[in-house]
């Protein structure tokens, strides 16, 4: 098989695919997050089936596929947000820096500070722009005003929002436009300096210009963080992916280098989806 991309940085992953592992999975020597044989049931219905996937640091990993494929579920397992849901069952492991995040004694609130999440809809909390950004650090016990100001500016800058709101920090967060609100939510996650940033269709409610701004900020963010994103279209997936993982019906169908998956998918189902034959 011809690998069409020459600018790949994921050597380890390529060798894995070259070996032709039975379950098509990305693997790397030093993943930020390792998802290991993960299955998940909710209300007796299986939503993830034996997913094995490595998420590298300082890159954008795209989880894509038709609705109901388990992408969002997988994300919510990585920061243990699904702990809040009753009636679930999980097998397999999720490792963050080689440590099992579901091991007994893990501090869940600390884990969530390390693994930030941005949701499909902009969900500003009640309060001002500034209060939104420093919500997390405050809960974590940060009281120093100078430090909080510093965090506000840094986070908003990283989310490509600072220049637009620097004079409106004390206005209600809801007075911002939808696109600004979503970047505010990204900034809010960044305020905790997470190591992993999960973005669940962060641009689904946004106009094309706001979408472009959010996507631009991704290129900045991946210099510092492991970024995982569920895109809202195949086009977006192709634009931002360093690594792409295709999910269908709770299974990881194909995973590989972004350009390869979108231009020369190995699996027939991936190809059908990417070329728009279904989905």
């Amino acid at each position: 098989m011809v690998m069409p991309n020459a600018r790949s940085t994921q050597g380890a992953m390529e060798s894995a695919t070259a070996r032709g592992t039975r379950r098509l999975s990305c693997s790397s020597d030093d993943p930020k997050v390792r998802i290991d044989g993960l299955s998940y049931w909710y209300d007796g219905r299986q939503s993830l089936n034996g997913v094995t996937l490595d998420i590298p640091d300082r890159a954008v990993t795209v989880l894509f596929g038709p609705a109901g494929g388990g992408k969002t579920t997988l994300m919510r397992l990585v920061n243990r947000l699904n702990d809040m849901v009753d009636g679930t069952k999980m097998t397999g492991r999720i490792l963050l820096d080689s440590e099992d995040i579901y091991a007994p004694g893990v501090d869940v609130t600390r884990l969530r500070r390390r693994v930030g999440m941005v949701f499909a809809l902009p969900l500003p909390l009640p309060g001002t722009v500034r209060e939104n950004v420093i919500y997390g650090p405050r809960l974590a016990g940060e009281r120093r005003q100078a430090r909080l100001s510093e965090i506000t500016e840094r986070s908003l800058t990283q989310a490509a929002l600072w220049s637009e709101v620097k004079d409106r920090l004390d206005q209600p967060a809801l007075s911002l436009s939808g696109g600004q609100q979503q970047r505010l939510c990204i900034a809010r996650s960044l305020s905790l300096e997470p190591e992993v940033l999960l973005l669940d269709e962060p641009t689904s409610g946004l106009d094309p210009i706001s979408t472009a701004k959010v996507e631009e900020s991704l290129f900045e963010l991946k210099l510092h963080y492991a970024v995982v994103i569920v895109p809202h279209s195949v086009q977006q997936a192709a634009r931002v992916a360093d690594i792409a993982a295709f999910f269908l019906g709770g299974e990881l169908v194909e995973c590989g280098d972004g350009p390869q998956v979108f231009t020369a998918p190995r699996n027939r189902k991936t190809e059908d989806y990417v070329t728009g034959r279904f989905g």
């Binding site: 809040m84 969900l123 809010r188």
Partner: protein
């Protein structure tokens, strides 16, 4: 008959039905104001009764009702709101929580005289509080709890789930999310429930009958273990137990009770409007 006419007829009929709801309250207020306003003056509000309660004022009954309402609030608000937070935010759907909910619903359905008897047995006799403001407040508090709990729980549930999720995703503990987001957002609804419950307590006669109310006690209470007069009971007494009581005094007392309750209601609306204006969803 064409559709426009049918629509107009429908609206007229529904409007009429809505008016029927308004008429009784206007009549009640109207009659009491017209007949009672003559008895109201500063002396009536600020002095002790004398001459078999036919003369003087109703100060001890006013103060008594205010103290009882305050006592009820001190006991019922923390327990009620705390219970609502537990049920809405922490409790899973288990046999225990279902039993708790069932108890609350049933508590709301108990006739007030039964609370009075319970208060007599529990607080007056068993705990030896005697007939006292303490016993009366506790009895009224228990009666008020279901209202406070169910309205507060509803207000808490009305706060979008997403706020809790966002708070958790930013490393907040469950309690941090409740304290910083959920409770402030639910506050207007909680205040409504608290006031509704307290207003009912302020106007009740039966629960205080055996637990606190004094027939005739022309002095102000000095401790929570004192008896006191109270407006609803006083009204009952002068309307049924004292022959030859001037009608204007009866209606005057009713007017004061009504005024007290309505003004508390207005204060509550103002508080609620203030907090609601600060809410952003």
């Amino acid at each position: 008959m064409n559709r426009a006419l049918a629509q107009r007829l429908g609206f007229a009929l529904l409007g009429l039905i809505a008016m029927v709801v308004v008429i009784p309250i206007l009549l009640v207020i109207g009659v009491i104001v017209v007949r009672g306003i003559g008895a109201i003056n500063w002396q009536f509000l600020s002095t002790m009764p004398y001459g078999g309660m036919k003369q003087g004022g109703i100060l001890p009954a006013i103060i008594g009702t205010l103290l009882l309402t305050l006592g009820t609030a001190i006991v019922a608000v923390p327990i009620g709101v705390g219970g609502a937070v537990y049920l809405s935010e922490y409790a899973r759907d288990t046999r225990l929580t279902r039993a708790i909910r069932l108890a609350i619903v049933n508590l709301a359905g108990i006739p007030s005289i039964v609370y009075g008897l319970f208060g007599l047995g529990m607080f007056v006799l068993f705990f030896r509080f005697g007939t006292s403001i303490l016993a009366g407040s506790l009895t009224l508090a228990i009666m008020t709890l279901p209202v406070i709990i169910s309205t507060s729980e509803e207000a808490l549930r009305a706060v979008p789930q997403e706020f809790r999720t966002v708070s958790a995703s930013l490393g907040g503990t469950r309690w941090q999310g409740i304290r910083t987001i959920v409770l402030p957002q639910a506050l207007p609804g909680i205040i409504t429930g608290v006031i509704l419950g307290l207003l009912r307590a302020a106007g009740e006669t039966a629960p205080i009958l055996f637990t606190v109310a004094a027939f005739y006690l022309p002095r102000l209470p000095r401790s929570p273990l004192d008896q006191t007069m109270a407006l609803p009971y006083h009204l009952y007494v002068i309307s049924t137990q004292v022959p030859g009581m001037p009608l204007s005094v009866q209606y005057g007392t009713a007017l004061v009770l009504l005024g007290l309750v309505l003004s508390l209601n207005i204060v509550a609306s103002l508080i609620r409007r203030y907090f609601r204006s600060k809410r952003q969803w």
